[in-house]
């Protein structure tokens, strides 16, 4: 009972903070408090991880609808690391945005997004999940578009369009789930259990993968990532890339029927995931903005997670969830840290970069599986799922790709230091970065058992270490090649595939013009009058036809 009370406190704290923002003086000072709002959730997660078994859920209407909150293993892990990043990024934001206008507004959107983001990890029923998912998706618009520049506004529009599209997919999928489920219960477990027997199973799965895949950045719905991340303020990019894409991951974890052994859908998901993993690397290396490179890297990494999930789905194997969650948790920490690093570098003189760049390099190469980093453990965790066949090789290839991409990132970030000589980043930026950096490097070792990994000794075997090292070396060599010949690569605009929609605006305007014209015609008196009588006659005829 006390634990379920804690669960409520985890979500209640940001909500109450939000309510306090209704009062203007509080709102103006709220930036400084952002660091605190996620802490109860962190406490809940830590307590749940230290304790044995699962946390008591908080369920309303247990007899029928079963609406409420609950914590399971993947949820706890992601909730904990997410709360940590939210807290560190919150602290970072209070310095980063100090003295800039509209801090209060930023804080409101931050807290809204935070509430939803923590909520998706603990929501136990369709309605709560949809609510929190919608909250995290839509409120993040305020973070993306915060700067108010033309670029930020455009990014906001693209982001919101895709987010709402994702909501539409999910709403339909959730309704299909609820309708196909025999009882009244809306608990996720109950409705997902009924999914394999649903008459609309394929459609539902398709919609779920589209909706969650969009959030996680799977090709071709990844286009919002490389547009939104660079536009957002630095701490917002950190949570966008670190936490918000994980809403899609937790969605896949919660809503895919792992026991059913859906081979076709599993293979399809794997294929989509691997395509994303490589496609994002290929586009990413053509980008100049370090934040854009990071965004493509996020898409690539989430592609790999999706591939892991796809294999698990096909095999009916729940361990893929454990491995994928662990991988995602590491990505959350490390990617969040790297975004913070971009901001630190941008505030630091070129000659003092090394204290930032070295640890950042470790984190970055961790995505390629550099031994002894957290990323090394993450790669180890998914290795058994990927196996040693074709997919396993492709996984190794993606590690090479990640190294290449992240080397490119290091190159780009180092090229953008503060212009003023002697500049140094404010301590308020530096210490959150260090917290996240250390967490990303160290926490995976603590959390390794949750990733299904054995004792450390196994990970520290020579063969394992070498297995992790050689793809990084190859990736490094390729990176050298990229620096040499990279100038010959084509320049792909941010959001690559969006180019295809360039003419959509013109077409939409033409359609709108036509409809406006039609409206003018329909609203002429004689036209409406004739239509009224036509309608009367049609209804009359329809009823006559029904009597036969």
């Amino acid at each position: 009972m006390t634990q379920s009370g804690l669960l409520v406190a985890a979500l209640g704290t940001p909500v109450l903070t939000l309510l306090a923002c209704l009062w203007r003086p509080v709102r103006e000072r709220m930036l400084g408090l952002l660091v605190l709002a996620p802490l109860p959730a962190l406490v809940v997660a830590v307590m749940a991880l230290l304790g044995t078994g699962e946390t008591a859920p908080m369920i309303l209407d247990p007899g029928r609808l079963q609406i409420g909150l609950a914590l399971d293993r993947p949820g706890t892990l992601l909730l904990g690391v997410a709360a940590l990043l939210w807290s560190a990024a919150g602290a970072y934001a209070s310095t980063y945005l100090r003295g800039k206008p509209n801090g209060g507004r930023f804080a409101v959107f931050w807290l809204l997004t935070l509430t939803g983001s923590l909520g998706v990890f603990v929501a136990a029923d369709l309605l709560s999940f949809y609510l929190t998912f919608a909250l995290v998706s839509l409120a993040a618009w305020g973070l993306v578009a915060h700067d108010g520049t033309v670029r930020a506004r455009r990014a906001g529009v693209v982001y919101l369009l895709l987010a709402v599209l994702g909501e539409v997919f999910l709403l339909l999928a959730f309704v299909l789930l609820a309708v196909a489920s025999p009882g009244d219960s809306l608990a996720i477990g109950a409705v997902v259990a009924a999914l394999p027997g649903s008459p609309w199973c394929g459609l539902t799965l398709g919609l779920l993968i589209a909706g969650f895949g969009l959030k996680a950045g799977l090709v071709p719905l990844h286009v919002w990532l490389p547009i939104a991340h660079p536009a957002a303020p630095m701490p917002a990019s950190a949570v966008l890339s670190g936490v918000i894409v994980k809403a899609g991951i937790i969605g896949l974890i919660r809503f895919l029927p792992w026991d059913a052994g859906l081979v076709d859908w599993g293979q399809a998901l794997t294929a989509i995931g691997l395509c994303t993993a490589f496609y994002a690397v290929l586009i990413g290396i053509t980008q100049a903005n370090p934040k854009t490179v990071l965004a493509y890297s996020t898409a690539s990494q989430m592609g790999l997670v999706a591939a892991v999930f796809g294999l698990g789905l096909a095999a009916g194997d729940g361990t893929a969830v454990t491995a994928g969650t662990f991988y995602a948790a590491h990505h959350l920490l490390a990617k969040g840290a790297l975004f913070l690093a971009v901001g630190v570098v941008a505030a630091t003189d070129a000659r003092r970069l090394w204290p930032v760049l070295v640890p950042a390099g470790l984190l970055a190469l961790g995505f390629g599986g550099l031994p002894l980093t957290g990323g090394f453990l993450a790669k180890l965790a998914v290795k058994p799922v990927l196996g040693y066949g074709l997919v396993g090789w492709l996984g190794t290839l993606s590690a090479i790709g990640s190294t290449l991409l992240m080397s490119h990132f290091l190159h780009r970030v180092a090229a953008n230091p503060a212009p003023e000589p002697g500049a140094a980043a404010a301590p308020g930026l530096v210490w959150p970065w260090w917290v996240m950096c250390l967490a990303a490097l160290g926490l995976p070792w603590v959390l390794a058992p949750l990733g299904g990994l054995g004792p450390w000794s196994h990970a520290l075997g020579w063969a394992t270490l070498w297995g992790g090292l050689w793809p990084v070396l190859i990736g490094g060599l390729l990176a050298l090649g990229l620096r040499r010949w990279g100038a010959h690569l084509p320049k792909v605009p941010e959001g690559d595939l969006l180019v295809l929609l360039r003419n959509a605006g013109r077409v939409a305007a033409a359609v709108g013009d036509a409809i406006e014209h039609a409206d003018g015609w329909l609203r002429r008196w004689p036209v409406a009058g004739v239509l009224l009588l036509v309608l009367a006659l049609v209804l009359w005829g329809a009823m006559l036809a029904s009597t036969r």
Binding site: R524, P526, V530, L533, V534, A536, L537, W540
Partner: protein, 310 residues
Amino acid sequence: MSLALAADAGLALLILGLAVWTTIARTAFGAVIGFMAYGFLVALVWVRLAAVDVALTEAALGSGLTGVLLLGAAARLPRDAAAARPGWGLRLAAGVVSAAVAAGLAAVVLLLPVPGPTLAPVATATLPTLGLGNPVTGVLIAYRAIDTLLESVVLVLALIGLWSLARDEDWGGRPDALRAANPGAALVLLAQVLPPLGLLVGVHLFWTGAIAPGGAFQGGTVLAAMWVLTLVAGLTRPPRVGGRGVRLLLVAGPALFLAIGVAGFWLGGAFLAYPAADAKPLILAIEAALTLSIAVALGLLLAGPPGARE
């Protein structure tokens, strides 16, 4: 019988002819004149359909007052303001669908059940308990009293709506739509002679409504017509819209109706029920107040919104 049928057929044709004329007449003025004649003939049809109460109302209201109203409007229309007719395609379409609706209705009329369903026996059976002889009045004032009550409120509401069309600065003034610029001597004479007679007719209609055709609406309409005549001739002036007295007169009918209806909770066991013993005096009181209110309301509706001209 066949002679009567022939006469009725002639009447129907005449009505249709006038209706067509009203629709296609070149000028609005001509169309209104056609419509007034049409209304008079329709009143005859009501007599032929054994609905004398309706005939009275139609003659007074449907043809008379409406005619005056429309004539006044037609006279003030800009000469050349008529907009372009819709294109022939639309007119054709309108003709086709209108004809289709009419044809459908004709088919429905021919297929109505025989004998027609009726409430006449029930309506007459309970009439004596109300002390009434005219079943139409019984329906209006007892069985379906709520309709009549709401409808008398509709008149007040229409007046509010009409007044709301005034200009802000004219508020509190007198309606001016009716007064003729310089009434001819004949009109003035008519307005002096006719009203006393009309007053008698109106009171008579209201009074006989209990037993014979007639009633509050018909009586009120005749009274209103007489008042309107004196207004047009400039013999009387409409009251200022801000006055409380005229407003009291306007709501007297519905208010008394409502009050007696509420009293019915205790006296008759239900809202709008009359106690068996005192039904007739109560009904007469309501009718009297309604007649007065309706007359004032109709007159003021014709008089238009308050205007600037003093």
